[in-house]
Amino acid sequence: MTELGTIKPIIEALIFASNSSITLDRIATILEGEDRKVIKEALDELIKEYETSERGFTIVRVAGGYQLRTRPEYSPWIRRLLKTTTRISRASMECLAIIAYRQPITKGEVEDIRGVDSTGILRSLLEKRLIRIVGRKDAPGRPVLYGTTREFLETFDLKDLSHLPTLKDIQMMEEGDACGETPEGDSQGRGDIETEGRGDDSRGEGESERQGGNLPGGEGRS
């Protein structure tokens, strides 16, 4: 077993060199034969080190992986540097939220909730890779089902879907009509995100807040 002090800088280098977040699985594959527990320990230490030292950036756990990110307090300067900022329109945000909480979901179901045509918005969200097609619904016309992506999790600083903010119930009268989202559907739609998000979670953060595959929306409660 390698010294923690030896693999820590290697892991740090891997995170630095990665284009997007890097998962513990991937790190383990690269560090052939290294004990996952040791890797996890090294990661936790790294995170703590960045947190306690006064750096402009930190290592964050996001989308089931690890990523270097600037600290939020320095965003004004970064925006000046890049001359751009991400802005997601209200309508796009609505579609995203509906898809995030209700996936897998068809365009028709999104439109039923919003009450307005959403074709263009869904197309653009697909292009931006914030959503993806996860299958087809077993219904007349076999409509396409949408789900959120890893980029969605990264964009909104979410470890996995179970960390979505809880949908607030404004004293719902009855919630009996939550059609179209079935428990099977849920797991199917989030398949890859699940595998990336789990397994490396020895701290159990994902599980402690909410059990396994339950979406925080509290849908499907009868």
Binding site: F16, N19, S20, V60, Q67, L68, R69, T70, R71, P72, S75, I78, R79, L82, K83, T84, T85, T86, R87, I88, S89, R90, A91, S92, M93, E94, L96, A97, I98, A100, Y101, I113, R114, G115, V116, D117, G120, I121, S124, L125, E127, K128, R129, L130, E151, E154, T155, F156, D157, L158, L164, P165, L167, K168, D169, I170, M172, M173, E174, D177
Partner: protein, 245 residues
């Protein structure tokens, strides 16, 4: 038409209804249908008058509202309509509004997170959100908040609907110049301060359209402060806003 602001409205009839419910401070579970229907139709009328794209969904909702209203007027007799007995005709609409409202709340929660490319940045460029596409956004306020503010301004003038006579005298292009000149000096202007006290209805509407046009071109921003005041401000040149629509 003498002006044509092709503005696509990405908000739907449910947004308009929620706006009206908020504006009138009424209970979503006990919507005064007659009042709300009347106001809904007024907004629709104004949107058409401004030649904004009014999607078919708005008309479907208008029909639904009128239908509910008429059912509310019917005396409730106990024998007839067994299957619908005791059912509030507003129930389905309320259910939809409440559900939609939940997702709007969720949007607020998501928006408060540390958004990549806005609050926090990875190394190098953030790939997937780059690129500006045609259907850009421009306002931080709901279009219905804006139209509501416009209605308030219009209600303060006495002049009746006389758009046809006056409209030729005002052109969107002139009002664009006017707004830009003012923004040079003032940086930010409260929405209702854009209009002269003595302005005519046509002039007010054309000014409003000029604001929309400028906002669409990303030259100005429209922003609503905590206290509900809508302000127009000059966008800092050089700051490109990448948007996802």
């Amino acid at each position: 038409m003498p002006y044509n602001v092709r503005l696509d409205i990405f908000e739907g009839p449910l947004d308009l209804l929620l706006h009206l419910i908020r504006k009138n401070r009424v209970d979503i579970y006990d919507i005064p249908i007659a009042d709300i229907t009347e106001q809904y139709l007024e907004y629709l009328e104004l949107m058409k008058e401004m030649n904004l794209n009014v999607a078919g969904e708005f008309l479907v909702m208008a029909a639904t509202l009128i239908h509910i209203k008429s059912r509310m007027l019917l005396p409730v007799t106990e024998e007839e309509d067994d299957e619908e007995e005791g059912v509030d005709p507003r129930e389905e609409l309320t259910r939809r509004l409440v559900e939609y409202q939940r997702y709007k709340e969720a949007v607020r929660d998501l928006d408060m997170r540390l958004v990549l490319g806005r609050d926090v940045f990875p190394r190098g460029r953030h790939h997937h959100l780059e690129g500006l596409d045609g259907e850009e956004v421009f306002v931080d306020v709901s279009i219905f908040d804006l139209i509501g503010a416009l209605k308030d301004v219009l209600s303060r003038i006495e002049e009746p609907h006389s758009l046809d006579i006056t409209v030729d005298r005002f052109r969107v292009a002139d009002k664009i110049n006017y707004i830009m000149e003012r923004l040079y000096r003032e940086e930010t202007i409260p929405f209702d301060a854009l209009f002269h006290r003595s302005a005519l209805r046509g002039e007010i509407i054309v000014t409003f359209l000029a604001v929309l046009e400028l906002a669409k071109l990303l030259v100005v921003g429209v922003h609503q402060t905590e206290d509900g005041i809508i302000r127009i401000y000059r966008r800092t040149p050089g700051t490109l806003v990448r948007t996802v629509h």
